[in-house]
Structure formats: C-alpha cells, structure tokens
C-alpha cells in the first residue's frame, strides 16, 4: 500500500531565478506543483511612511528606488499625481511633456531588455543575457548624460524637468533607436524559432482574460490574454494622445505570447521616440508656477528675489490644498498608480503606491498550480516582477 506524500521545498529568498528577494514555498508531488505560496516583504523599506515625513519635492527620490529597473517611470507617475493635485497639469510646457514621453519610452525599452535577459537566462538561453545588457549600457549612458546617474535618475520635477537636454543628446537617442530594431530582430532570431524556447514557453503559465481582470493583472501580461487596455491610449497623460502607436494585444494567454508582446512593445517604443524627437522644439522646461518650481539659476545668483524664492521652495516646499488624487500610468510592468492625499501641509499626508508587480504576483499561484516545477521559473520570469516595487 503506497502512501502518497508531498514534499515541501523552499525556493528563495536568495535564489538566482526569483528576480529579487522572493520566497516561494512549494509543495511538490514529484515534479508537479500542488500548491505555491509566495512570501514577500524582504525588501520592505517603508517608502510610504518615509514619504509622509518629507516634503513633496523630497519624496521624489524615494520613488526612483521602487521599480529600480524603470526609474523614470516611477518618477513620472509621482510627478503627474502631484501636478494633478496642484491643478497645474495644463501648465506644463510642451518641451517638458515631449522629453517626458521620450524618456518614458526609453525606460520601457530598458526595463524590457532586463526582462528579456533574465527570463531567457532562467530558461537557459544564456547568450541573450549579455546581448540585452549591451544595449542597456547605451541607455544607461544616455541616462547618465541627462541626469548624472545611471539608474536612480531623479530627473523629472513637479512642474517639468530639472535640467535641459545636453548638446548632442538627440543625436545619441537617434543613433540608438536607429540600431535598436536590428537588435530586437537578433533576439528574435535566437529565441522565437528555437524549438527549446518554444517547448518551454508555449502553453506555459496560462491565464484567461476573465481571470486576469479578476486577479488584477495589468500591462503586457493582461494584453497578451486578449484584453485591449493601455493607459497611454485610454487615459492619456503627458501628451500621449498626440502620438501614433499600436497597442500590442495577443490572444494566446501564455508565456510565448507575453514574450512576443513585450518584443513588439519595444519596437513600438522606438516609433514613439522617433515621433518625440521630431516634435522636440526649444522652449521652457519648467511650468511658470512660482510657488512650486525653482527659479532659473542666473536669477538665484544675481538677484535677492531669486535667492529668497529658491530658499523658500527648498526649505519649506509648497502646500497643496486639502484633497486627494489617483494617477495611474502605463509603467513597463503594468499600471503604476499613485494615490496621494493632501491635508494642506507641505508633506504628503498619505502616499499609496499601487505597484503593478505586487498585484501581478497574486496571479502566480493560479498560473503554476498543477504544473511542473520548471514552469514555475518560466512563470516568474514572464510576470516580470521586481521586488523593489512589490515590497516598497
């Protein structure tokens, strides 16, 4: 009489394939997963509580460190939410909006490159990893030229941008997006027709459209299940309504479709950046709202009013009216939402961040229960999670 037993094993939090500090307690029957329970919180830094003790300007660098693979997206979401709270969304100058779109799309490419590199590496295709990171170095060089930092850029400000584009920046971007489609074709050539890749990804980690909407999935994972929803097109922000791009939707619901969807999204991002470069015109980069935006540097050095203005904003900050807003943006991983409550003081009363990866990770047990252990790795990779965002 054979007794059937399951084995409980622990995967993580230190594990090369969990994309961060994620712990999965798996109950296995042979190689089939009976149940999977994710444990998170190893990277919890208390960002929301910290933000309550800082002024609005000073809470902005905290957002860089949420989804550290797409820092400018986090910045953008926060900045748009605060601008909405202040009511100055229509005073943002055109140049600032165009640069914001351009950098958001470069950030999307950057994030998807890391996703592809680590996803392929986990499944076994080790060549793709360094190819993607080579392209990513170009983007990080551009980040560094623009903001001074390769990763935590802190480039956008409430009211516009912090610095104008340096000379030659547009040529760098143009050179990058001229070469990018060829690189994406290289990655596809290595993976799409590859029998091993197809066996590992087709039919793996499926989730239907109704289940996906119910569990709260957003971003490319939701669009690969057939739901046509993209916040850039549906609730546009920062001038996205003026750009011509396709929203990539696929019907297959499995890992292969999410892979193809993200590759096509990278191509669409190149298109958007090209349109943004064409739209770029000289002009101011900060809104003309003296209570919020810092004055120009020559005013600060040469006049007492400029100096006092700068001092007031840095030391005190601005005080929005009491109220609350929710701003959602289409971050590379899904819908990144900021819910900010103001009580009339200089610090945000409550800043709740709705991280896409947090909600997407809820779908993981549903995707892998009853499947093989090897599919767990593919499923974590395809959800594209980053623990900095999940744990905040």
């Amino acid at each position: 009489m054979a007794k059937k037993e399951t084995m409980t094993i622990n995967m993580g939090p230190q594990h090369p394939s969990t994309h961060g500090v994620l712990q999965l307690v798996l109950e296995l029957d042979g190689e089939t997963v009976v149940s999977a329970v994710p444990h998170i919180g190893f990277l919890h830094r208390g960002v929301e509580k910290l933000a309550e003790n800082r002024s609005y300007h000073r809470a902005l660098p905290l957002t860089d460190r949420l989804d550290y693979l797409a820092p400018m997206s986090n910045n953008l979401g926060y900045v748009l939410a605060v601008e909405k709270l202040l009511g100055i969304t229509d005073q943002i100058p055109e140049r600032a909006k165009v640069v914001r779109v351009m950098m958001s799309e470069l950030t999307r490419i950057k994030s998807h490159l890391v996703w592809l590199a680590t996803h392929a590496l986990d499944i076994g295709a080790m060549t793709v990893f360094l190819y993607c990171f080579r392209e990513r170095e170009d983007i990080m060089d551009m980040y560094e030229k623009l903001s001074g930092a390769r990763m935590t850029s802190y480039y956008f400000r409430v009211g516009g941008l912090s610095l104008d584009l340096p000379d030659g920046f547009e040529d760098d971007v143009l050179k990058f997006i001229d070469g990018m489609p060829a690189h994406i074709d290289t990655y596809e050539g290595l993976l799409t027709g590859n029998k091993i890749w197809q066996k590992r990804t087709i039919g793996v980690a499926e989730i239907s459209a109704e289940d996906a909407i119910d569990i709260g999935l957003t971003g490319p994972a939701l669009r690969s299940s057939g739901v046509d929803w993209d916040l850039r097109r549906d609730n546009p922000y920062s001038g996205y309504e003026d750009y011509d791009f396709e929203v990539i939707t696929r019907e297959g619901c499995d890992t292969f479709d999410r892979y193809k969807a993200r590759l096509d999204e990278m191509r669409e991002s190149c298109k958007i950046i090209r349109q943004a470069l064409d739209k770029l015109q000289p002009g101011p980069i900060l809104a003309d709202v003296p209570s919020v935006c810092l004055p120009a540097k020559q005013d600060v050095s040469n006049s007492i009013e400029g100096l006092i203005h700068q001092f007031k904003i840095i030391s005190e900050g601005f005080k929005p009216e009491p109220g609350e807003v929710y701003q959602g943006i289409e971050a590379p991983k899904g819908e990144l939402g900021y819910y900010i409550v103001s009580d009339g003081s200089a610090n945000p009363f409550r800043m709740k961040i709705r991280p896409p990866s947090f909600v997407n990770l809820q779908a993981l047990p549903q995707m892998i229960e009853g499947k093989l252990l090897a599919d767990v790795i593919a499923a974590i990779g395809t959800l594209d999670i980053v623990l900095g965002e999940i744990d905040r």
């Binding site: 998170i40 919180g41 919890h44 208390g46 929301e48 509580k49 910290l50 003790n53 800082r54 002024s55 000073r58 909405k84 709270l85 009511g87 909407i213 119910d214 569990i215 709260g216 739901v227 929803w229 549906d234 609730n235 900050g317 109220g323 609350e324 807003v325 929710y326 959602g328 819908e335 939402g337 819910y339 409550v341 200089a346 610090n347 009363f349 409550r350 709740k352 709705r354 947090f358 909600v359 990770l361 809820q362 744990d391 905040r392």
Partner: protein, 159 residues
Amino acid sequence: MSQAVVAKLKGAYAASVLEVKEYRDEVTVTVKKEDIVAICQFLKDEAGYNFLCDLCGVDYLGQEPRFEVVYNLYNITTKERLRVKVPVTEEEASVDTVSTVWSTANWPERECWDLMGITFNNHPDLRRILMPADWEGHPLRKDYPLQGPDRELYQGRIS
C-alpha cells in the same frame, strides 16, 4: 458619466451614501461600511467597474472616525475611474472583505491589515504580508514611530 453612476448608486443605496465629492475631475463617494460588499457588487455588475485598481487604508489620527478604507475602481470599457471610501472607527476597526467581488483585493487587504491594523471579515487568508510574521504593531499608523520601536529618532533634518 461618473455622475450618472453616482446617481444610480444613490437611487439603489440612498441610505448608505454619506457624501459625494468631485475634486480635480475625480468623483469620490463615501459610503457606510456595512453595505460595502453589496455596493461593490452593484458597481461591478450594474455599472461595469470590473477592475479594482487599488485598495488602501488612510489614518486620520485625531479625527473621528480614525481610518478610511479607499477603493479605487476602474471601468475597462468606458475607461472611467471612481473612488469609494468607507469610514472605519478605531474601536471597531474592521470591514467586510471585497475579495468575493474582485479577487485582486486579497493581497491589498492583507497589506492594509499588516500596516494599518484594519481587520477584514471573512478574508480567506488574513496574515502579515510585508512585515515579518511575528511583528507587533502596525507600522503605517500615525502614532507608530518612524524610526521603529526600539531606536532613537534621527537627529538630522529631513524636511
């Protein structure tokens, strides 16, 4: 359009709707906490708000009631947002769970319990999610120290 939804909600649940506010083109409805599950089911089935973007708690220390649980909803077909708020007192810090209406509410409610201390009745799995399992206290409350329970406050200037 959101105004039409609010009018429909008021028609169906007139006694529960406490306040309706519109700020910066966003509509916020405050309702009583006893009817929250019925109202959420109504909004999902009748008004088409099939996506729960976010669920969080806010601590208004010093005000009565002390907490508010905020539900940010989204209608994928009409691309509209709606916010529903539920006041929760400190003595009875509990709300019914809406994870029967949208399964996505599961983890955000766990986070609300973990960081704010608001219990969710009938939740399938209410345990700590971000803090360690044996932690005491609810860190995001306003009377919880920023630096943690057993340290001195940072002496430098942060704001």
